[in-house]
Amino acid sequence: MAGRVIVITSGKGGVGKTTTSANIGTALAKAGYKVVLIDTDLGLRNLDLLLGLENRIVYTIVDVIEERCKLKQALVKDKKNPNLSLLAAAQTRDKSAVNADQLKEICETLKEENDFVLIDCPAGIEQGFQNAVAGASEAIVVTTPEMSAIRDADRIIGLLEAKEEIKSYKLLLNRVRPSLIKSNDMMSVDDVVEILSCPLIGIIPEDTGIITSTNKGEPIVNDENALAGKAYRNVAQRILGEEVPFLDLDEPKGIMAKIKNVFAKLKAKV
């Protein structure tokens, strides 16, 4: 079998690459697919924390490359889901410990025995990005509806376009706040898609549940009730080729919303 290798990238830091990697990986594994997550953020590893695997890591990707262990030995199995495993980044080394060819080789090997190889890319457009992208044939560009994140995403899209190996790239819009969009204080999904002219694979609402799930080391896709969890499960389904409509993020109408509406109508009359 030859699995798909997808890099999750963004340019800007802090927009949710690692959260996205952890959640999509977990969702695909839950759907019955064999998934390996690779953390390529050498020196700043975090994917292990989001998956709650930080205490189980013995070997890292650098140990594999420097042949201190076999690739299989370095793969850490998820606590709950045996379909999911993690190849952790080295925390004590920097980006120069790995090069693009080595990562490519690891991806080639891993995709033989897995349905999906998901690469969590470091922020930036330097060597770390080049390494992470090297073995991938698809990309998910994570951004938020903020100017700086969109600008960086645009740079990344430009760089991905120039790479022959990347056959397709899609946009994942993270931390969307419907109330701010409603009050015209945040760019809407349509605005961002139009500006970046990139096909969309997911819209993830801002959800405080992400913070608590990170605290627990438990991806939010495992929480059946969380809206962000549902949005990530939908992304996984879209990756699998299913057509899933985007979530309607309009907040449930409470009493306050109704009162606001009345005043908005009054204002319109004035």
């Binding site: 903020e146 100017m147 969109i150 600008r151 645009d154 740079r155 430009g158 969009i181 009050s183 015209n184 204080d185 945040m186 760019m187 809407s188 605005d191 500006i195 002219s197 306050m256 009162i259 606001k260 005043f263 009054l266 204002k267 004035v270």
Partner: protein, 178 residues
């Protein structure tokens, strides 16, 4: 009316505490972003854009009377392609005589510049290359935009036109404000 909206605003504050300086910050962001991305993607700096704008105004002014204030130069994207969109409010077309006069003035300016340059460089470069002459023209036109066309060789008709243009521009502005 005024009283009512005062009351509305006071009450509304309780419901929307963060709303302050207008609710269109999104469109500000969108516009700023579009501009900066256009510059990122095309490597055009604001300085070059401004120069391009000035030269376009200059060129087109030979043939039509423009509303320089309202001229818009934008980039639009459709997929991979970038298009330069120029929106020019035309006040009126110039007649043939005016156009010829403008062209003649332009040609005279270039000649004068070339002569000057030839004298200054003590004939070590009698044949000025095309590139060089274009540079001269650019310099000159930038000055002209800044001076409001005072230096142009055909001061009489141009001045009259400028006066007219200003009046008409004011009218346009008033219309816009109204």
């Amino acid at each position: 009316m005024g009283l009512f909206s005062d009351i509305y605003n006071t009450v509304a504050k309780f419901f929307r505490p963060q709303e302050g300086q207008g609710d269109a910050s999104k469109s500000v962001a969108t516009n700023r972003l579009k501009l900066v991305l256009m510059q990122d993607r095309t490597n055009l700096t604001p300085k070059i854009l401004e120069q391009m704008r000035g030269e376009l105004i200059d060129l087109l002014s030979r043939y039509v009377e423009l509303d320089k204030e309202l001229l818009e130069l934008n980039f639009e994207h459709e997929g991979d392609q970038v298009a330069l969109m120029l929106s020019i409010p035309v006040i009126r077309a110039k007649d043939e005589e005016e156009i010829e006069a403008a062209l003649r003035a332009e040609a005279e300016k270039i000649e004068a510049k070339l002569e000057n340059k030839g004298n200054n460089s003590e004939e070590d470069a009698p044949e000025v290359t095309e590139e060089a002459s274009e540079e001269v023209e650019e310099e000159h036109s930038t000055n002209e935009v800044a001076d409001g066309g005072e230096n142009s060789g055909m001061s009489t008709p141009e001045d009259m036109n400028t006066n007219k243009t200003q009046e008409e521009q004011e009218e346009v502005k008033e219309e816009c404000q109204g």
